[in-house]
């Protein structure tokens, strides 16, 4: 009798969880479809609200971010639009639709980048900007597997010359992709960038609103975050253009 009661509660708990998850999934799906309809009816604020709700629930998907970028851009909020396009590019840098809309949004920027940064990492790992982090990781794992498979076959066969060239090729490719994957981890951890959100923001010399205004940046301009303080970020725009900005004025990519 006691066992039957225990089983009943067990199944009830599983069923409750299942129903809760299903309800949440249904809610997210409904929000998404509502967002799409709102966008088509040019009710961009409602579309932003619907897509933002899904993003806030933890969904990380380049298509969702792309839709958010589109909705913000149509709503005239260039800063937010570029922020979501940047976030989408991190997940899917090779999406042609995304790149097209991103370029369009960039053409509306007011601040011209003064010096193009030439990073040694960007030169060494040029392909990382063509593939997303997941693809790089899976490729590295696959190439690594093939390499060790060849090594194992060579060991078992006792013939030293067998598959020599493919093993070297696989080794080089595996090392390249593994290094790229680790660089992606490093970049995600230590390189933080942000996008200016309001139409115009003063970059100041200190951590108060009364500090001297050094220069002005406009919506959509991308900056590097060098230091994080309580209410302020120390940002780097270009060589010699460094200052402090309220963290509510930027969106971290």
């Amino acid at each position: 009798m006691r066992n039957k009661k225990k089983n009943f509660f067990y199944y009830f708990a599983i069923l409750s969880i299942f129903l809760a998850v299903s309800a949440q999934t249904a809610e997210i799906t409904r929000s998404f479809l509502d967002g799409v309809n709102d966008y088509k009816q040019e009710n961009f604020e409602a579309a932003i609200s619907a897509f933002s709700k899904i993003a806030a629930s933890g969904v990380k998907n380049s298509k969702l971010f792309y839709n958010l970028g589109n909705a913000y851009l149509k709503n005239g909020e260039l800063g937010h639009a570029l922020l979501w396009y940047e976030r989408a590019l991190k997940v899917a840098p090779d999406d042609p639709d995304l790149k097209f809309n991103y370029e369009y949004a960039l053409s509306q920027l007011k601040d011209e980048k003064e010096n193009k940064e030439i990073s040694i990492f960007r030169i060494l790992f040029f392909w990382k900007h063509l593939l997303n982090a997941g693809t790089v990781q899976h490729t590295a794992i696959f190439l690594n597997l093939i390499f060790w498979l060849i090594v194992t076959i060579r060991t078992l066969q006792k013939k030293k010359k067998i598959l020599k060239a493919p093993s070297y090729l696989m080794l080089v490719l595996a090392v390249v992709f593994t290094l790229t994957a680790f660089y992606n981890y490093y970049e995600a951890e230590y390189f933080k960038e942000a996008v200016i959100l309001p139409p115009q923001v003063s970059v100041r010399s200190g951590l108060t609103d009364g500090s001297a205004e050094l220069f002005v940046l406009h919506a959509g301009t991308k900056v590097k975050i060098e230091e994080e303080h309580h209410d302020f970020f120390k940002i780097f725009f270009s060589e010699g253009k460094i200052g402090y900005i309220r963290n509510s004025d930027v969106g971290v990519i």
């Binding site: 997210i28 909705a71 809309n101 498979l149 060991t155 680790f182």
Partner: protein, 568 residues
């Protein structure tokens, strides 16, 4: 000259000693006189630049002459001379201090009384007046081309040395030109000229000056040190001389206030501007060079690229400016050319607006604006790559049909409506990623380990030892056949010996068996016993005699013991 003075003193000292010695011998009494001090000059009337000689004589001995009160002359020491005179048996001694004096200006110049210290007593000489008149043999002068320039205007400072007599070793100590940018113009000029009916050699030096600020300025005098050469009968005489110019006053005027529409370029002088297009007819994507040339006299090197209004349908690539500037007697002059490559991106007829240059004309004292004419540009559609060459039977060339696709409107692409937009793509954590990389490597290591373990069973030593054990076991179970029993014993013994050598084999001679065991560290006795047992088994095997039970038991026991002892 100091060298002559020292030698003179030594010589006088020697003469004095000789005279003293002679007097001592002759018994002439010595008489001491009080000091008599005199100052005199060799001439009382000289010209500017000429020198005169001042002598201060001290009779009765030496003294210290203080020449610091002399201000109107440059004083050069000419050494000391001493003379001794004996008149009517009494001896007198006189020391003369000689100086060359060079007058520093015209007029009646005074040599004030000089103090002479003789053995602690100070004597004063008489004051001397010298009349210095202007020299017309040698003189210098300095002048500027414009004593009232504008700020930034170029002017020429000229220094001239006129000499009707020969001079030697001239050294010019020129002014510092404080408050001006100064640059020497070329080499000095040497020519002959006539002034007031007299012929002079003239040395001329020129400097280009640009005043840096407004206000009254004074260019300090230039000083020339030299020797004036006066020919004598055989040898020339050299007299030191100093000639000095007057200070030159310059009043630098500020530029008048400017209220014009065209931006003032900062250029001061006289300038002109020209613009030229390399090609006024071109295709989309082709480039043409726009050359803007500023030319004139003044601070042209400071000219910056004039403002050019280029239509938006052109991309502009600016080049570094080209300068051809010379420094001459009118200051800096020449041309500065600014070039820019223009690349049209759209077809059409365009007009480049006139380029204007505003500068300050020093000759007119006002701001002037000069401009280039408007330039027309005709841009045709691009021919690049779009040219479709088709060779038909009639060899007709078909006109290109393809055109570069241009945006006719701009908008973003639509939303992505697929529901997979709601799937979260999780990326691997660094630890999981590293583990997934390590797993194949671990599998490979395991395979290697397995191989190493399996290969161990192929070891000949191990195989032969196993074989020996097996043969011994077979020998124990062989009850019927005597020959098979002996073969088993033989195999057991040979196998155990070969296992020591780590090689495979079926047979051994006695001597080989003993040698193997010796070489692997067994005693001679053991080796001999093993070889003996092997011989015994072989003898029993090949003799053909029957095996009684005792002999069989004895061989088995001996072989077992030997195999065990060698296996251990």
């Amino acid at each position: 000259m100091d060298g002559f003075g020292v030698r003179g003193e030594r010589c006088a000292g020697r003469i004095f000693l000789c005279v003293m010695l002679m007097l001592a011998i002759a018994g002439v009494p010595m008489k001491a006189y009080s000091a008599d001090i005199r100052a005199y000059v060799d001439q009382k009337s000289v010209q500017v630049g000429e020198s005169l000689q001042l002598t201060v004589s001290v009779s009765g001995g030496g003294g210290d002459v203080d020449i610091s009160p002399i201000h109107d002359f440059k004083v050069i020491s000419r050494g000391t001379s001493t003379s001794v005179q004996i008149i009517n048996g009494s001896m007198s001694r006189e020391t003369a201090y000689n100086y060359a004096l060079i007058p520093l200006r015209e007029g009646n110049l005074s040599i004030p009384p000089l103090s002479v210290n003789v053995d602690g007593t100070v004597y004063q000489t008489q004051a001397i007046t010298v009349q210095v008149s202007a020299s017309r043999n040698v003189f210098v002068e300095a002048q500027v081309s414009n004593p009232n320039p504008y700020q930034g205007e170029q002017m020429i400072y000229t220094f001239k040395l006129y000499n009707a007599v020969r001079i030697a070793n001239p050294k010019l100590d020129g002014p510092k030109f404080a408050g001006f940018t100064a640059k020497e113009i070329g080499e000095s000029k040497i020519y002959r000229t006539v002034i007031s009916g007299r012929e002079y050699d003239c040395n001329e030096l020129n400097y280009m000056l640009i005043p840096l600020s407004v206000g009254e300025k004074s260019i300090e005098p230039a000083t020339l040190n030299c020797y004036v050469v006066k020919p004598r009968s055989i040898f020339d005489s050299f007299f030191p001389a100093i000639f000095r110019t007057e200070a030159v006053k310059v009043n630098v005027k500020p530029l008048p206030p400017y209220n014009g529409d065209v931006k003032f370029s900062g250029l001061v002088g006289k300038f002109d501007i020209q613009a030229q297009l390399e090609n006024s007819r071109l295709n989309v994507g082709d480039s043409t060079t726009l050359a803007i040339t500023l030319k004139g006299a003044g601070n042209i090197m400071d000219a910056e690229s004039p403002e050019i209004k280029i239509p938006e349908e052109f991309k502009v690539y600016k080049d570094n400016p080209e300068e051809d500037i010379q420094l001459g007697m009118s200051g800096y002059s020449g041309r500065k050319t600014f070039r820019a490559a223009l690349v049209p991106i759209k077809e059409g007829n365009y007009v480049l607006e006139a380029i204007q240059l505003c500068y300050f004309d020093v000759s007119k004292g006002s701001y002037e604006v000069c401009s280039t004419p408007k330039l027309a540009l005709s841009v045709s559609p691009s021919k690049e790559k779009d040219k479709l060459e088709v060779t038909s039977a009639t060899s007709e060339q078909v006109k290109p049909l393809k055109k570069k696709v241009e945006f006719t409107g701009r908008d973003i692409l639509p939303l992505k409506e697929e529901l997979d937009a709601l799937e979260t793509r999780k990326s691997l954590s660094p630890i999981r990623f590293a583990l997934l990389l390590l797993i194949p490597a671990l599998f490979c290591l395991m395979a290697k380990l397995f191989l190493a373990l399996t290969r161990k069973s192929d070891d000949p030593a191990r195989l032969m030892a196993q074989r020996a054990e097996k043969a011994l076991k077979d020998a124990c179970s062989c009850e019927t056949s005597g020959e098979e029993f002996l073969s088993c014993l033989y195999r057991a013994l040979v196998s155990v010996i070969l296992s020591k050598a780590g090689t495979k084999g079926e047979s051994l001679t006695y001597s080989e068996a003993a040698q193997i065991l010796r070489s692997y560290g067994y005693t001679d006795e053991t080796a001999e016993q093993a070889a003996g047992l092997l011989e015994k088994i072989e003898s029993a095997k090949f003799s053909g005699r029957g095996l009684d039970k005792d002999f069989r038991e004895e061989l088995l026991v001996e072989t077992k013991q030997m195999v065990r002892s060698l296996s251990s």
